[in-house]
């Protein structure tokens, strides 16, 4: 048995089982709070408010600032990680404790994995119709303004302005844009309706927005609902000539345009795109049912993967519990639409995705080892 010098007092305190118990109890409270909060907030917001934060903030009705009310998942997890590491630093290194060692080392990896995915994981999706080819995924919530020079049909030259800039800036100047974009308003969610006779005039003065009115509403957070974002944008030429105020929304399908120095420009507000260095073509989407019922049996998408970098060009079948992993991304069969001709793939980038697998193996092995040793001893004692 390896003997080691007595650990420092603070290390011993940090690795103490009392701290472990406090953390376990706090974590249980957080897990319960996170579960209950989902009824109102939806999974993603509840997770961000309770788990993926260091402090849980609470803002009483009418207050302009929030109060810290409880340690968040990040803090409790961090303390637990420190507690684990401190404990491991002076845990007895022996055969008898080998199981305990494995369990707690596995937990360290598990925590690291959860921190990694909280920080690095990016989720998006890719709606793709049969026969279509896509080389980008779209964000669920974030929007972007695309200004496209449609003069050259072969080259769709898009200048992209993310939602965050639209919200902050009143005027957008960009070296790549030959005009200025004045942002009159931006709303995360709104109700868009056709303007009826008698309605006040639309704030838009150009494009199809002149026939529309909108009313801002609170953004939705429930997982299966989408926001209708609205932006009022006015392109202004360098000589201060206005092209009119355009009403842009992700709910409007067709882009709206104007002519600037003889070149047609198209504006649209659309879900933020993440371009990929490869492309997927949907060849076939299948939605199988159990005979004589509407109960889905399987969803699958047959796609053609083309990656110029690696020279790959092959068919891949993405179906339940069998995603495609390529280029650091994972594609899952998530949803479908348009009478089974549209498939929606969930696209996840998580560089730490292997960590939980390692953690599970370590911890499970450790638990089996330790409880196996204990059970053996108990059986021996009861025989004796």
């Amino acid at each position: 048995m390896a003997t080691r010098s007595e650990p420092k007092a603070w290390v011993k305190k940090l690795g103490g089982v009392e701290l472990t118990l406090v953390c376990l109890a706090l974590l249980m409270a957080l897990v319960l709070a996170c579960t209950l909060a989902q009824v109102k907030l939806g999974t993603e917001l509840a997770m961000n408010a309770v788990m993926r934060t260091f402090i849980i903030w609470w803002r009483p009705e009418g207050w302009s600032f929030s109060l810290p009310v409880f340690p968040g998942g990040g803090l409790v997890g961090g303390v637990m990680l420190a507690n684990l590491l401190a404990r491991l630093s002076y845990l007895e290194r022996s055969r008898r404790k080998a199981g305990i060692w494995l369990v707690h080392a596995g937990l360290v990896v598990l925590f690291a994995g959860e921190f990694a995915s909280a920080l690095l994981q990016v989720e998006s999706h890719m709606p793709i119709e049969e026969g279509q080819t896509r080389d980008y995924a779209e964000s669920f919530r974030l929007m972007e303004l695309a200004a496209v020079d449609a003069g050259d049909p072969a080259f769709d030259d898009a200048r992209l302005i993310p939602e965050s800039r639209l919200k902050k800036a009143k005027e957008l100047r960009d070296a790549s844009l030959p005009f200025t974009l004045k942002v009159h308003a931006y709303h995360d969610n709104a109700e868009l309706t056709m303007r009826r006779p008698g309605d006040p005039p639309s704030p838009a003065t150009a494009g199809m927005g002149t026939n529309l009115v909108f009313r801002p509403v609170a953004p939705v957070t429930v997982d299966d609902q989408a926001n209708t974002a609205v932006a009022l944008v006015e392109p202004v030429a360098p000589d201060d000539r206005s092209y009119g105020v355009f009403l842009l929304s992700n709910a409007l399908g067709a882009p709206q345009g104007f002519l600037h120095e003889g070149r047609p420009w198209r504006l649209s507000l659309r879900p933020r795109r993440y371009y990929l260095p490869f492309s997927l073509t949907l060849k076939d989407f299948r939605h199988d049912l159990y005979p004589g019922t509407d109960i889905p049996k399987n969803f699958s998408s047959l796609v053609r993967l083309k990656d110029p970098a690696s020279g790959e060009d092959r068919d891949v079948l993405i179906y339940m519990n069998t995603p495609l992993r390529h280029g650091g991304l994972t594609f899952y069969q998530a949803s479908f639409g348009k009478e089974d001709t549209l498939s929606v793939l969930q696209v996840v980038r998580n560089p730490g995705w292997t960590l939980p697998y390692l953690a599970c193996a370590l911890t499970a092995l450790g638990l089996l080892w330790h409880f196996g040793v204990m059970l053996g001893r108990a059986v021996k004692e009861s025989r004796a």
Partner: protein, 609 residues
């Protein structure tokens, strides 16, 4: 009898008792049992008519049979009337209606009766439909109690109305005549359509055929199950309802199933048992020749339905539990523990047989839905308890085993009301590998946590109510509970992690803080907390026992509670009624935990003081 031979003798007696439901039933006029063994396709799987009938009755009246004129009609017997003589079935008390407002809507007096016949509800049928249609515009959680009840009754009535029009249109006196008519008009109608025949007879044939086809289309739309199996050589899934088989015949001759059902219906309406049996036998012979596999599996399932192993198991567990209590009250009666042990092992064997039969019939690992999870949790806890009893022969673990076995089978029994318990698995769940690994391990974890909790309850009860306190007993209980907590932590941790891996494979994230995942995590954390508190010396015997009792609340929450929230990717079964049961259970456990914290027999001591 010598004490040594008591246990085996009681064991054998218990098994014999389990075989009792399989004794041949008294033969009626019609061979309803054989009729119940006919296979049909419903809910995506091939099942016997008997299973369909039992599930339909469970949905409509929460029982598997109907009382008719002082006799008890089996599901198959009731189906004969519902399918062939609906005017008779309409008078049977088939629908349970509890909601006073719905009863008021139907013009029925609340509080007097719970069960009603279709004819009693029919006069206000249109109004109920209108109310239900109104309520269906709202999402289920937003409906009022009345609206929920109205939608529920409307669905049950619709099921019954469609059932009556599944093999023949309700009120058809002789479907065989219709089939003969079809055979006679088709050639003439074809002549007329192809321009060959222009005689008045041919044109009339076209009209008759159009009329017949519209009737068949109605039948095809209404059917709740498909009774016409694919012939040999056709794809296995190509079942058709009677209406579909007539609308789109695959061959020129009529399908034997269509003919058989028409003949059975005619004979049944004419009160001709011999003719009914002849048609039934002929169809059975055809099935035996062309689709023996369907006939086999349907027969096996009927056997399982009749044996009802979980009901027998429940009874055996509860008798075993009472024997253990008796042995604690009369410690000198040496035969009692042995008898209890024999009976509990018999109960466990019956439970196992039932579990195994479901696995074989369904072709799936044992846990596929909330119902089967209850059966499996009980099985695990009973098995672990009976094994632990062999380490410490004091009856505690056996009592825990019996109580969890009984309670979980009771819970399962009350979860059957939503229909087929062997329903098909929705797409993402259609993975035997993950069902066999993640779901099984996590369910074993639930079972273990409940068993530990029960040991805690036994400890609390003995501390306050046992005639004589025995510290050795209490210590034995606590070390048993500790072992079971270790076992539960192992399984619930591995199960939760496997769940994460499954989620990573199917949704793209290992952990999403989804309610069901959180529920499983709570159990892991709770068990870890108990073990760390014990290792730290902060919780000793009493502390651990109180903590394991509270573990019951944690487990019940993550097993059932999260399903009631109705959010997240895992919410497959939503229940309202169970909420009150769950709250009551949690309250009782908190009370038991509080009792555990109080000094033993505190009330007697105060009285003495």
């Amino acid at each position: 009898m010598k004490p040594r031979s008591v246990a085996p003798a009681v064991f054998v007696l218990g098994l014999l008792a389990a075989l009792l439901p399989l004794r041949p039933a008294p033969a009626g006029d019609y061979d309803a049992d054989a009729f119940g063994r006919l296979p049909v396709l419903e809910g995506g799987r091939v099942k016997p008519l008997d299973s369909f009938g039992r599930n339909a009755l469970l949905m409509m009246r929460s029982k598997q049979s109907v009382p008719v004129d002082g006799r008890r009609f089996t599901a198959s017997r009731w189906l004969l009337d519902a399918l062939f003589k609906p005017e008779a079935a309409d008078t049977y008390k088939t629908f349970v209606v509890d909601d006073p407002e719905v009863l008021g809507l139907l013009g029925l007096e609340p509080g007097k009766e719970r069960y009603f016949a279709y004819w009693q509800l029919e006069p206000k049928r249109a109004e109920l439909r209108a109310q239900a249609a109104q309520a269906e515009k709202l999402e289920a959680p937003r409906r009022s109690r009345f609206q929920t009840a109205a939608v529920n009754l409307d669905r049950r009535l619709t099921l019954y109305e469609r059932l009556k029009n599944t093999v023949q249109i309700a009120g058809t006196d002789d479907a065989a005549v219709e089939l003969a008519l079809l055979g006679s008009v088709v050639p003439a109608a074809l002549r007329a359509v192809h321009g060959g025949g222009t005689s008045e007879r041919d044109r009339r044939a076209v009209r008759v055929l159009a009329e017949l086809l519209s009737r068949f289309r109605f039948l095809a739309d209404a059917a709740v199950f498909k009774a016409v199996p694919p012939r040999a050589g056709e794809p296995v899934d190509a079942w058709r309802s009677n209406g579909e088989a007539l609308l789109k015949p695959q061959r020129t001759d009529l399908h034997p199933a269509v003919t058989a059902f028409a003949l059975m219906g005619r004979s049944y309406r004419k009160a001709d048992p011999a003719g009914f049996d002849a048609a039934l036998r002929e169809y059975q012979a055809w099935l035996e020749k062309e689709r023996p596999a369907f006939a086999r599996s349907a027969e096996a399932e009927v056997l399982f339905n009749r044996a009802a192993p979980f009901v027998t198991g429940m009874a055996l567990y509860v008798i075993g539990l009472l024997l253990i209590f008796a042995s604690w009250a009369r410690p000198r009666a040496a035969g009692l523990p042995a008898a209890a042990s024999g009976l509990l092992w018999a109960a466990f064997v019956v439970h196992t047989a039932g579990l195994f039969a479901r696995v074989v019939l369904q072709g799936r690992p044992p846990v596929t839905n909330l119902y089967s999870s209850a059966v499996f949790v009980g099985w695990v806890a009973a098995f672990a308890g009976l094994l632990a009893e062999r380490l410490h022969r004091r009856g505690f673990a056996a009592a825990g085993a019996a109580a969890v076995g009984f309670c979980t089978l009771l819970v399962a029994h009350h979860l059957t009301g939503s229909g087929d318990t062997m329903e098909m698995m929705r797409a993402v769940l259609d993975s035997n590998f993950w069902l066999a690994t993640h779901v099984i391990t996590i369910t074993i974890g639930y079972g273990g946590t409940f068993l530990a909790g029960l040991l805690g309850l036994v400890w609390v009860a003995r501390r306050h109510f046992a005639p004589r306190r025995d510290p050795a007993d209490e210590k034995a209980l606590s070390s048993l509970a500790y072992g079971v907590v270790c076992f539960s932590l192992l399984f619930s941790f591995i199960g939760t992690m496997l769940g994460g891996i499954w989620a990573d494979q199917s949704w793209g994230r290992f952990w999403g803080w989804d309610p069901k995942e959180n529920g499983a995590l709570l159990i892991v954390l709770w068990n870890a907390l108990i073990l760390h508190a014990r290792w730290a010396g902060l919780a000793r015997e009493r502390g651990v026992m109180v903590l394991v009792v509270l573990g019951n609340v944690v487990t019940a929450w993550s097993w059932f509670g999260v399903n009631m929230l109705g959010v997240g990717l895992h919410s497959y079964g939503f229940m309202d009624k169970a909420f009150w049961w769950l709250s009551g259970f949690a309250a009782s456990q908190l009370l038991a935990a509080a009792l555990g914290l109080l000094p033993p027999r505190f009330w007697t001591e105060r009285r003495n003081a």
